[in-house]
C-alpha cells in the first residue's frame, strides 16, 4: 500500500467514526431536541470502557494503571464499551431529565462535563489522570500486517457506520421518531396528548449514547491511546456544528454534516499554506471559520444543508385526489 492509499484509507476510517459520532448527537439534539453539551463525555466513556476491555490486566507497578483489563478480543471489547456508555448515558439522563427543564439541560450538562474532566485529570487513581490509556490493542492488530490491518479496520468502521445508520434511520421514521420530534417541538403539548417525556427523552439519549460509545470505542482501538487531552468538553461544539451544518433531525443530515465539517473543512484546511511559519495559527483559523459557517447556516439555512424531510405516508396518494374535487373552505384567523 502506497502512502496515498494509506492516507485515503485512514481518511475513510476517521470519516466513518466521525459520522457515527455525529449521528449520535443528531438523534439526541436534532431529533429529540436534547441539547447535550456533554456529548463528548459519552464518547470518552465508550473509549475508556472499550480500551480497558481490550487491554490485558493492569500491571501493579507501572506508568499506566487502569480499572479492568479483560484482554477481550474484538468485537466484545467494543460491545462492552457501547453497553457501558448506554448505561452511563441512561444514569446521566435520569439525573438531568427528571429535575431540569430543557433550557437548563445544556448548562447542567456542560457543568457536568467540565467537572468530570477536572476530577479525571487531578485524581490519577481513578482513570490515570492526564496519561490515560496507552497501547490499546486493535482488532487482530498483532496478527496482521500494517497494510492489512488498515484495510480490516476500514471495513469494521464502515460496517459499524452502516449498522448505526440503519438503526437510527428506522427509528426516526417510526412513530417513535415522530414522538421524539413532538417532544422537541413542544414538550407540554406532547404531554397533553399523553406522551411520557422522561421515557421518550431517555430512549433518545440512550440511542445517542450507543452511537457515542461506538465512535469512542472505535477511536481508542484505532489510535491505541486514551487521554483527557482528546476529550475536551469544547470538542462537543465541533460535533454540534456538524449536526447544524448537515441537517439536524435525520441521519442523512448528520452524515452530510460530518463529511462537510470534519472532512471538507477541518481536513481540507490542512492543505492551506502555513502563514508566516505560525503553525499554531491553523487550529485557531479552523475554529473561527467553523464558527462563521455555523452562524451563516443558522442565519440562512437553520435546518442545515439537507433539512429533515417531512414524514411521508401512503396516504399521500389518497390526499392528491380529493384536492380539486372537494370544496375547500379554510378557517382564517
Amino acid at each position: 500500500m502506497g502512502q496515498v492509499e494509506f492516507y485515503i484509507v485512514t481518511l475513510v476510517i476517521l470519516a466513518s467514526i466521525n459520522a457515527i459520532n455525529v449521528i449520535g448527537l443528531n438523534v439526541q439534539f436534532g431529533t429529540a431536541g436534547l441539547l447535550n453539551l456533554a456529548y463528548i463525555i459519552l464518547l470518552a466513556i465508550g473509549a475508556y470502557a472499550t480500551g480497558v476491555a481490550a487491554l490485558p490486566p493492569s500491571p501493579s507497578h507501572g506508568y499506566v494503571t487502569y480499572i479492568g483489563g479483560f484482554s477481550w478480543p474484538f468485537p466484545w471489547d467494543l460491545l462492552f464499551g457501547m453497553a457501558v456508555t448506554v448505561a452511563c448515558g441512561a444514569v446521566l439522563g435520569i439525573i438531568v431529565f427528571t429535575r431540569v427543564s430543557v433550557w437548563y439541560l445544556a448548562v447542567t450538562l456542560t457543568a457536568i462535563g467540565y467537572a468530570l474532566l477536572t476530577v479525571i485529570n487531578d485524581e490519577p487513581r481513578l482513570f490515570n489522570g492526564y496519561v490515560g490509556l496507552l497501547n490499546v490493542p486493535g482488532p487482530w492488530e498483532s496478527q496482521l500486517s500494517q497494510a492489512d490491518y488498515q484495510l480490516v479496520f476500514c471495513a469494521i468502521s464502515l460496517i459499524c457506520l452502516g449498522l448505526i445508520f440503519l438503526l437510527t434511520w428506522r427509528l426516526e421514521r417510526s412513530p417513535l421518531g415522530r414522538a421524539w420530534r413532538a417532544i422537541r417541538e413542544d414538550e407540554t403539548a406532547a404531554m397533553a396528548l399523553g406522551k411520557n417525556p422522561l421515557l421518550l427523552k431517555l430512549l433518545a439519549f440512550s440511542v445517542g449514547s450507543l452511537a457515542a460509545g461506538m465512535a469512542g470505542g472505535l477511536t481508542v482501538l484505532y489510535l491505541g491511546s486514551w487521554n483527557t487531552e482528546a476529550w475536551q468538553p469544547n470538542e462537543t461544539f465541533l460535533v454540534l456544528a456538524a449536526v447544524i451544518v448537515g441537517g439536524r433531525g435525520w441521519t442523512v443530515g448528520g452524515v452530510v454534516g460530518s463529511l462537510v465539517t470534519y472532512d471538507l473543512l477541518i481536513e481540507g484546511s490542512k492543505y492551506l499554506p502555513v502563514i508566516g511559519g505560525h503553525l499554531a495559527l491553523l487550529p485557531t483559523i479552523q475554529t473561527m471559520f467553523l464558527g462563521l459557517i455555523v452562524m451563516a447556516m443558522l442565519w440562512w439555512r437553520p435546518w442545515g444543508l439537507l433539512p429533515e424531510p417531512k414524514e411521508r405516508h401512503r396516504l399521500w396518494a389518497w390526499l392528491k385526489e380529493p384536492r380539486g374535487s372537494h370544496p375547500t373552505v379554510t378557517l382564517d384567523g
Binding site: 428506522r170 417510526s174 412513530p175 417541538e185 384567523g333
Partner: protein, 257 residues
C-alpha cells in the same frame, strides 16, 4: 344535566385550591361534571379559570384538594398521565408541533402507539396500526376541511387553522372529556359559528363531555347547557346562561367593583 342525573359524575372536583405566591388564584372550588354535559366556565379576567384548568389537567400539580375523573383519583398526577385517562385539554394559544406537518401532528395523538416502543419501532410490526390511525386522521382532516393542508408544516398554517389542528389532534387521543381554554380565541368572527357547530355536534352526537372556558358569552349561551361562574378564585354560581344574566351576584362580579 338531565342525562347525567343520578349516575356518578365523570369529573368531581373537591375543595381545589392553588396560590401563586400570596395570590389565591383558585380558592376552594367544588363542582361536578356529568357525562354528556357541555359546561361553560365564565368569569371576569383573573377569576382563576385558566388556573383551574391547569390544575385539572395536571399542568399545575402543587394544588390542594381532590380531582376524581371517571372513578379514579387523579389529584396531582402529571399532565401526561391525566391525559391518558381521557381528560384532554387544549390551550388558550394553540400549541401545535411547528416542524411537523398537519397530518403528522394528528398522527402523534392516538394513544398506545406500538411504533413508539423501541422494539416495535426497530423491528417493524406497527404499520397495520398506523394504517388505522391514518384512516382516523384522514376523517379528522375531512371534518375540518384541512385535507389540502395535510402536507404543510403546522408553522405555516393560519391561526384559525392551528386551532383546528390542535382540536382535532386532541380528539384523536380518544378523550372522554375535553377541557377547552378559549377555543374561539384566534378564530375569525365568520368562522366562530362553524367551530361552534362542530363542538355542538361532538357533544350532542358523539356524547363527548366538554368543559369550556370562554369569555365570549354569546358562544357559551349557544353551546352550553349551563355554566359555572368564577370570581376571585371561587365558583359563585352555576346555572343556565339565561338565569345567570339575571343573577345579581354574577352581575356584580362582572360589572361591580
Amino acid at each position: 344535566m338531565a342525562s347525567g342525573a343520578g349516575a356518578a359524575p365523570l369529573l368531581r372536583v373537591e375543595a381545589l385550591a392553588h396560590a401563586f405566591g400570596g395570590v389565591q388564584a383558585v380558592n376552594g372550588v367544588t363542582f361536578e361534571v356529568h357525562r354528556g354535559e357541555f359546561l361553560g366556565l365564565i368569569g371576569p379576567n383573573g377569576a382563576g379559570k385558566s388556573t383551574l384548568l391547569d390544575c385539572l389537567s395536571g399542568q399545575i400539580r402543587d394544588y390542594r384538594g381532590r380531582v376524581v375523573f371517571d372513578g379514579q383519583d387523579v389529584s396531582r398526577w402529571p399532565l401526561f398521565r391525566v391525559a391518558r385517562t381521557g381528560l384532554v385539554r387544549s390551550y388558550q394559544v394553540s400549541r401545535v408541533f411547528d416542524r411537523l406537518t398537519v397530518l403528522s401532528n394528528l398522527l402523534t395523538a392516538p394513544p398506545r402507539q406500538r411504533g413508539e416502543r423501541l422494539p416495535w419501532a426497530l423491528l417493524g410490526g406497527w404499520r397495520a396500526q398506523e394504517r388505522h390511525h391514518l384512516e382516523l386522521a384522514q376523517a379528522a382532516l375531512m371534518d375540518f376541511e384541512l385535507t389540502p393542508l395535510a402536507r404543510t408544516y403546522a408553522s405555516e398554517v393560519s391561526g384559525g387553522q392551528r386551532r383546528l389542528v390542535e382540536l382535532s389532534r386532541a380528539l384523536l387521543t380518544g378523550p372522554k372529556m375535553l377541557l377547552l381554554d378559549e377555543p374561539f380565541a384566534g378564530v375569525s368572527p365568520a368562522n366562530r359559528r362553524r367551530l361552534g357547530d362542530w363542538l355542538l355536534r361532538l357533544n350532542q352526537e358523539a356524547g363527548l363531555t366538554i368543559l369550556m372556558v370562554e369569555h365570549r358569552l354569546e358562544q357559551v349561551e349557544r353551546l352550553c347547557s349551563s355554566a359555572l361562574v368564577m370570581a376571585a378564585g371561587r365558583v359563585i354560581a352555576r346555572d343556565s346562561m339565561a338565569n345567570l344574566r339575571r343573577n345579581p351576584r354574577v352581575i356584580e362580579a362582572y360589572f361591580g367593583g
